[in-house]
Symmetry: C2
Subunit: 262 residues, 2 copies
């Protein structure tokens, strides 16, 4: 088993950002700054795994933005790793081929959906075991610990990876997902029973409305909430990052020990 190797550390607004590598995969861990208002008095705190979108990376502006809300707002840790072929990671020949196909479709004004669905399904097969090994390693850190609450937060490609990951790993007990086609994801979604908050754009020019609603419908969770906002694919409103933070605050709490009768 690989362990987390920290390589750099910065701090701002009560949040410590630590770069790490784990078995060659580059990642970042955001944590409450010691002594800040949101830091736990002592002991471990819950962890949110955050998946970035297609074509971006672990420090794309939305990632630290969402992480700060969760670290500062909830006192939790947030981790993000570069997906295969993304960020600081090399691309395979297949990656290059699919990315070229995507650009060709875009330029020709053809639908991106079939390529994104296919390529993201491939990336998810590579990414799910990587995330599980990363979670193993992160849970070795004393400030996170084994057996604590774990959430997952990822939209777009982050959902293509997050749905099979959440279906596969019982350590994940709450997930914020959204903005993807159901083709490869409805089947694993039907095995997910943990609370889900699902975001979609009502006027998404890439993902047909019925396709987005079908994926939300597929989750077997008894607690699931759809947040659908007016607007196109890239107009996902920033206040939904606050909705996600509140969702995790509600669900990622450690069980309160039963009082000992004396």
């Amino acid at each position: 088993m690989h362990s987390v190797q920290f390589t750099a550390e910065t701090s701002s607004d009560g949040v410590v950002e630590r770069d790490f590598t784990m078995g060659g995969i580059p990642g970042v861990l955001w944590s409450p700054a010691p002594g800040s208002a949101s830091a736990a008095a002592s002991g471990p705190a819950p962890l949110v795994l955050m998946g970035h979108g297609g074509g971006t990376h672990k420090k794309w502006p939305a990632m630290p933005g969402r992480a700060h809300r969760i670290v500062y707002g909830c006192g939790f840790h947030v981790a993000c790793i570069d997906a295969p072929g993304h960020g600081d990671r090399p691309r395979t020949a297949y990656d290059e081929q699919e990315i070229a196909a995507l650009y060709r479709a875009r330029e020709a004004g053809e639908p991106e959906g079939p390529i994104v669905v296919r390529y993201n399904a491939h990336l998810a097969e590579r990414a799910v075991p990587e995330w599980q090994a990363t979670l193993d390693a992160l849970q070795e850190l004393p400030e996170i610990g084994a057996g604590g609450p774990v959430g997952y937060y990822g939209l777009n490609m982050g959902t293509a990876i997050g749905v099979p990951l959440t279906a596969a790993d019982p350590r994940i007990t709450a997930a914020v997902l959204g903005m993807h086609w159901p083709d490869a994801l409805a089947a694993p979604a039907r095995r997910i029973t943990v609370p889900v908050q699902f975001h979609l754009q009502w006027d998404d020019e890439h993902i047909p409305r019925e396709a987005g609603l079908a994926l939300f419908d597929a989750f077997a969770s008894t607690e699931k909430t759809l947040h659908a906002n007016a607007g196109r694919h890239k107009e996902h409103p920033r206040f939904e990052a606050d909705s996600a933070a509140r969702f995790f605050a509600r669900h990622l709490t450690r069980p309160v020990p039963a009082p000992v009768l004396s």
Copy 2:
């Protein structure tokens, strides 16, 4: 023009509850207790008009529950009046006839929709001018004032009344609505352009999913958010009252005066 006549006052948890009558209509106004953490330092505060559901009344437990979240959480005022034929108000012969028809349908296991749609449309015609007169009178109070931000919050029958009210009254600048059929409401919804948060139950046994989604789709608002939760009609989760409070906190703020250059 009628004015608000206060008839009783109680206070709990930082919230003052004052019963009133306005032109014979009984209502209740919840306000921040003077000196409490949420009370404005001075001057008027925003107002949320709250419509109750069918068969209930202005003090049905959900009403003070939602009001406390908004008063205590945002420092706003919240007002609710009994709808025609509800609470402390007399029923007409037509009210009795429609209520009997509804109970007959329920007992026979027939769909309630057609009766609820028809009866609520009738009640809305009576209720909209009552709400407008109530708002006129409430804006005479110094702690609310004319020209300040006004929201509307009502589900079920509260939406049957709230959609035509919001379409008709430009003083209402943000609305939380939901859980109704689109039949009588899609047309006025298409005239609404203010921000809307819309709640529906994904597994509603009375309102077909497509019907609820069609009403959300009808709003012309550029900012509108659908919150759809797993569960049946009466399982609407309590945390959505917090979503509503945050929505009003975001939208019902007074314009900040431009700084005066000296």
